[in-house]
């Protein structure tokens, strides 16, 4: 038994459910649009088709883990080209620098999946339980059959959305129509069901219940982003020099000189999806979704005061405005050396990757010399080396490739499917579509050939002639 005097100290603030009020305005509409765009991209992308001929899948975006291929529209990436993905990640990182230094936590406010799904779930709340006040009442109401039924209904909808979220994710990793069929007939891989189960659970919990706590307590992004913002970044700001001291409309009518523009109507708090009070200044809980701007502008319009008591403004401009200068248009904050440098770097990486993608060869060769034994003395005294050649055909059609020996004087080669008497300077090998063929070849050189480096040169035979080379070693007596 705990003694009654025991002091309860918790290190955590008790969670207060956020019941955000409906609001309309330009930023809310922008949020709607972003939600539509991001969700459409997420759900529709795997179903887009892209014809790649008979030898490759026709799904526009496909991460084929089993065959280690990544398809994105006209681009096909092999595992050894993973640097393209790394490049994309770097671009995403620099893009985040760019956006954050220009418009603060815009990613958090509009396009982060946590934000989008939280928003979606909050709309479900509104749809089932009514707006803010109704939800607060229902929350406080004792549990009874009606409340249980309502909650069950809402949580079922939560679960359905969560399931669709997890279900859409796996579509990126296999042919979507086939996988859908397999999934419902119980023939999909166990990992598909496990993935859907995990993502359903996380979506259900993170989107349905934890919501803004993920942003405030779990996510490192806000902390990284607050380090990347500076006094020239646009952010949602309450103009306290204009609003304070706040007082109700009634008091302000009586003494217009004593009070600022803020009438303390609490609309900015009521609409906030993370439940903060922006008037306390910039804070980690603010995802800068700007819904408070919409709410405040509406109130200001109703009471006939100028809009923008809460607005996107840089810290620098805020200081300037506080000192009495004229407000500067927000777009002017976007153009400055830092954002231009970020944009240049971002664009340069993008262009470099596009260039690399456009000019990369779809033919490749690598040679692994046998190390045991490194060379073989034949009965006529000539020296034979064995190599395992890997011929890469990145086109989605079978190709014939001509592999030739470069440099090695009087050298000849044959494959393990040929006879030595057919040895020649070059052999022709068929490579299946979109794959790497492994072939064993023998290279023979006359007696007395010195150990030396030489090259295998591969030319793809048909269509676009491509050339690839690899240098390797010809071992001979005296090499070891």
């Amino acid at each position: 038994m705990r003694h009654p005097d025991t002091i309860d100290i918790s290190f955590y603030e008790k969670h207060k459910t956020v019941h955000n009020k409906r609001v309309d305005g330009p930023f809310r509409r922008f949020k709607w649009a972003m939600m539509a765009v991001t969700l459409t991209i997420y759900y529709v992308t795997p179903w887009l088709r892209w014809d790649r001929g008979p030898y490759a899948p026709d799904q526009a975006v496909l991460v084929d883990l089993a065959h280690r291929r990544f398809y994105m529209f006209g681009i096909e990436i092999w595992p050894q080209e993973f640097y393209f993905v790394a490049g994309l990640l770097i671009m995403a990182g620099i893009g985040l620098f760019l956006v954050t230094s220009a418009v603060g936590r815009a990613w958090c406010g509009y396009s982060c999946p946590q934000t989008v799904w939280t928003d979606l779930y909050q709309h479900i709340d509104r749809l089932i339980d009514g707006d803010r006040n109704a939800r607060i009442r229902l929350d406080a109401a004792p549990w009874g059959p009606a409340k249980i039924a309502r909650r069950m209904f809402k949580w079922t909808i939560y679960l359905v959305i969560a399931f669709w979220t997890g279900g859409a994710w796996i579509m990126y990793f296999a042919d979507a129509p086939t996988l859908t069929h397999d999934f419902w007939t119980g023939h999909a891989a166990p990992v598909a069901y496990v993935t859907v189960a995990i993502l359903t659970t996380t979506t259900f919990i993170l989107g349905g219940f934890m919501r803004e706590q993920v942003c405030i307590y779990m996510c490192p992004w806000p902390r990284i982003q607050s380090a990347m913002m500076d006094e020239k970044s646009l952010t949602v700001t309450y103009k306290d020099w204009r609003g304070e001291p706040r007082g109700s409309l009634k008091k302000a009518m009586k003494e217009p000189e004593a009070f600022g523009d803020c009438i303390d109507c609490m609309q900015c708090v009521a609409v906030c999806p993370t439940g903060i009070d922006i008037r306390e200044g910039p804070q980690i809980g603010c995802i800068t979704c700007a819904l408070c701007i919409d709410a405040c502008d509406k109130v200001m319009a109703e009471i006939g005061r100028p809009r923008g008591l809460i607005d996107y403004i840089t810290l620098e401009d805020a200081e300037r405005e506080k000192a009495g200068a004229r407000p500067r248009p927000a777009w002017k904050a976007l153009l400055r050396p830092r954002t231009i440098v970020y944009f240049t770097v971002w664009g340069a990486i993008g262009l470099a990757m596009l260039f690399a993608l456009g000019t990369r060869s779809h033919t490749g060769i690598s040679a692994a010399p046998d190390r045991n034994p490194p060379y073989m003395l034949m009965s006529d005294g000539s020296i034979r080396n064995s190599y395992t050649l890997k011929l890469r055909n990145m086109e989605s059609r079978p190709r014939v490739m001509r592999v030739a020996i470069d440099d090695l004087r009087a050298g000849a080669m044959w494959t393990d499917e040929m006879a030595r008497k057919d040895a020649a300077r070059a052999v022709t090998l068929a490579v299946p579509a979109d794959s790497t063929a492994s072939r064993r070849v023998y290279v023979i050189a006359p007696p007395g050939t010195e150990p030396q480096d030489f090259e295998f040169e591969v030319t793809s035979g048909d269509g676009r002639a491509e050339l690839a080379k690899t240098e390797t070693r010809f071992s001979a007596p005296g090499d070891d």
Binding site: H3, D5, D370, N372, M376, S379, S386, D416, P447
Partner: protein
């Protein structure tokens, strides 16, 4: 217990002892921990009953399920065997001359042979099958064969071994010890060695050596020293020397010959494994086509 009391600030009972005014709280175990502990006990009882657990004098208790890791292994091994059976049967069912007719079958045979080689053959022939000149184990990668290098001949050599007294059909031959048994004098042996080396252009020929070779060696090695595979007599005119190609090496071999032996693997390995080993050795780069064997194989297939 002495002096147990409720500690006022925490509301927890003390253990009842006091050391220089310091008391210890008898804080109970957390509930979740206790339940986990009880659950572990229940699990352990079930486990001991169902699985081998108690060490006895000769072996452990058996457990109600009768599970053993050996049985698991046996099951997995037999599953693996069952999976490989069709291909092994296919390899077993085809004469070795026709093994290469089917690309997939030949590849499977080479792969199986490679695995068997790593277990049975590498001890002498080396993991790269390059043999050892110092120890006198032949290199299997080159195109020089003592007993023949086509698939069927390799298979026969592996099955019956070389100079294995326990196998009646083993590869058998013996080179006389010309020096040790006093057939030739040291001087004559030197002359013969020069002649032998001259066959591959490594020394100047001499009439005495040529005559001695004609009289003593040509019966096995052939008049031109090209060797005779029927008796495993090596080709002396090529660049490959099993026991070394210097004058000293040749003199040593003529004086007191070394002759390699290989166990007859037919007694130890099943015919399919041997067939796969032959395919692997043949695939190393020096394998020969059937020259004499081909018509015979056709004759077999005709009726």
């Amino acid at each position: 217990m002495a002096n147990r009391r409720i500690d006022q600030p925490t509301g927890t009972e003390t253990v009842g002892h006091e050391w220089d005014g310091i008391e210890e709280l008898d804080t109970p175990m957390p509930r979740w921990w206790l339940w986990t502990f009880y659950a572990s006990i229940v699990f352990a009882l079930g486990y001991v009953a169902l699985y081998p657990a108690w060490p006895m004098i000769h072996r452990g208790s058996e457990g109600a399920l009768g599970w053993t890791s050996r049985a698991d292994l046996a099951r997995e091994t037999s599953e693996q065997k069952a999976e490989m059976a069709p291909m092994l049967n296919a390899i077993a069912g085809v004469p070795i001359e026709h093994l290469a007719d089917n690309q997939a079958r030949m590849q499977a045979a080479v792969a199986g042979g490679r695995a068997a080689f790593k277990v049975n053959c590498v001890q002498c022939h080396g993991s790269g099958a390059a043999g050892s000149q110092t120890l006198g184990y032949p290199n299997l990668n080159d195109d020089d064969w003592l007993w023949g290098g086509d698939l069927a001949t390799i298979q026969t050599t592996i099955t019956h071994g070389a100079r294995d007294p326990s196998d009646g059909q083993t590869r058998q031959s013996q080179m006389p010890a010309f020096g040790r048994d006093g057939i030739l004098t040291a001087e004559q042996i030197g002359e013969v060695a020069d002649h032998v080396l001259s066959l591959s252009g490594k020394a100047r020929d001499n009439a005495g050596g040529a005559q001695l070779f004609e009289q003593n060696c040509a019966v096995c090695h052939g008049p031109a020293g090209k060797g005779t595979r029927a008796v495993g007599a090596p080709d002396l005119s090529d660049a490959i020397w099993l026991y070394g190609g210097t004058r000293q090496d040749v003199i040593a071999q003529v004086t007191n010959p070394r002759m390699g032996t290989m166990p007859a693997w037919g007694r130890r390995l099943d015919p399919v494994t041997i067939k796969m080993l032959a395919a692997y050795v043949h695939s190393l780069g020096g394998g020969e086509d059937f020259v004499e064997a081909a018509p015979a194989a056709q004759a077999d297939a005709a009726p």
